[in-house]
Symmetry: C2
Subunit: 325 residues, 2 copies
């Protein structure tokens, strides 16, 4: 069975993995992301990472079937062209897929939005593994910002212009912190950035807008009283947004990544309490709210999903049968 | 080509139609809804309406292929069993599909949620007619309450327990009017009921919570200054909810029924202004916001859609090829 090379292109780091059709990671390398450099100057770094992985695979006698890329939006997914990703300021309008396809002639290249790729990773290889009858899953990134990958009837909801799932942008209140240019947005309350802003507003003598999220997370995990108030408030706002998702989509599962994995019930407990009070009881009863089963490894698996998340027929054309789930 | 009998079961009236596979209505009768009576006592009225239509069809030499029912939720759609529809207080837990199938042996019976049926009507025979490449459409009822029928990739999003689209239940604000038991919900601001509550709160000397919506609509349509303030406020809240839908679903079209058809730009103008300010520009640019093309006739066409909205293969089993679109 051939393998897949995956690129996880983030604002902080770029990881390159080789993985199997069952979502197992065979090898991995990582570099700091040249996010502020112009794309054409950063491209050789990407190409070098992939070339190195290809060399390792070939030396081990494995055939690589395709190159899969997971990257933050907004982007045109089928064309693999970035629009104006805030975490990659030098890469606006970068023809990512086209350039990679030029560099690796004969190797099919697929690109997917990182939120969607995360949803596909959990659906096929994470919380969805062995869960029969699973068709509707929402994956929520809770990192610097908030974004969703939405699976409806087994397929990613891309929408009319590939921006479906931009729910971090939802305004939950006319007041509240400002993050990513929008006051009172979901990610202004409940993302990593939002939690810092909330902490600074609630305890201005102790924290500021420039407090590193790591410092706040450490205080939360050590059961600091003030930090617990912050995570409870962020969790309640998280629940407010989850209730909107549940009433609209009636999903079977909502999976939360990043900070939700690290903070666990400290964040999800208050969120579930608000969900129970706010959303339709029938829909609440039908929906499991879970931290990511792939945890810190989700980015690596997600990097493979632009390829592995595709329909069985398309995969068969690449000589791949997806394992797992 | 055979025809379909459709039942539109509302809290105020029940309509029974005969329609073609192209969505044309051949005949129609209507009675007041026995909404408060126990279902088993109301059932003979439904059966009588259908029997009358079947008789007319047979006398004209037409074969009726199936019985299609559109009814408000919550309900179990495949089973055709109502749960606790607020507009049909006597019909809780009614086995609607089962009883109709018993009464008309040999006639396939399908049941759909009225919001979903409206979405399918507009998708195939309304704003979607002749619109190539249409795959993602949201239909929003703006009647007594607010509900949505959501079409993703050409199919209704039913969700895990058939409650997807219950977005009237979304809370937009911690303050504001209370409707259907929830303060500050979308339908507490922007539905017919919500507009009356808003009018009573804004102009308590002139309107009360018991003002008929008809009186308010007449004042709006006659360009009364106070009524214009009310419809503008309701439209802005409508836009707030539409912006959430657009960021989450990135639809190609949102179609609005009932009051949005009657009030037109008086309601949709303020709504679109808020959408442009609140939702992602890429998603706003990709989405048309339109009043229902079927207008007052949408209930009749929707009554056929539990059958006509089905996949081509299933329709073929009934000897039907859907016309239109």
């Amino acid at each position: 069975m051939p393998t897949i090379i995956g690129l996880d292109v983030g604002g902080g780091k770029i990881a390159c993995v080789e993985g199997t059709a069952a979502g197992a990671i065979l090898g991995r390398s990582e570099v700091a992301s040249p996010a502020a450099e112009p794309f054409e100057r950063a491209l050789p770094l990407l190409v070098g990472l992939v070339r190195e992985r290809l060399g390792i695979a070939t030396a081990a006698g494995r055939r690589v079937a395709a190159l899969s890329v997971s990257v933050g939006g907004p982007l045109q997914i089928a064309a693999g062209r970035l629009i104006n990703p805030p975490h990659l300021p030098g890469w606006h309008h970068a023809p990512l897929k086209e350039r990679l396809a030029e560099a690796f002639a004969g190797l099919p290249v697929r690109v997917e939005h990182d939120g969607n790729a995360g949803a596909l990773a959990e659906y096929h290889f994470g919380v969805g593994r062995g869960r029969k009858g699973l068709r509707h899953l929402i994956f929520l990134t809770v990192g610097t910002g908030i974004g969703a990958g939405i699976i409806v009837a087994g397929r990613i909801l891309h929408g009319a212009s590939d921006t479906a799932g931009e729910v971090g942008h939802w305004r939950l209140s006319r007041r509240g912190p400002v993050a990513f240019g929008k006051q009172g947005s979901w990610e202004a309350f409940s993302s990593g950035r939002g939690m810092v802003l909330l902490a600074a507003a609630m305890f201005p003598r102790r924290w500021s807008d420039n407090t590193p999220i790591r410092e706040l997370v450490e205080a939360i995990l050590s059961d600091d009283a003030a930090a617990n108030e912050v995570v409870t408030a962020a969790g309640e706002r998280l629940g407010q947004g989850l209730a909107l998702l549940i009433d609209a989509f009636n999903p079977q599962v909502i999976v939360l990544g990043s900070l939700a994995v690290v903070l666990g019930e400290r964040l999800l407990g208050p969120a579930k309490r608000i969900v129970a009070a706010e959303a339709l009881p029938e829909a609440v009863a039908a929906c499991d709210i879970l931290p990511s089963a792939l945890g810190a490894g989700i980015g690596d698996v997600a990097a493979l999903m632009a390829v592995l998340g595709d329909d069985a027929e398309h995969l068969a054309q690449l000589g791949i049968t997806r394992g797992g789930s």
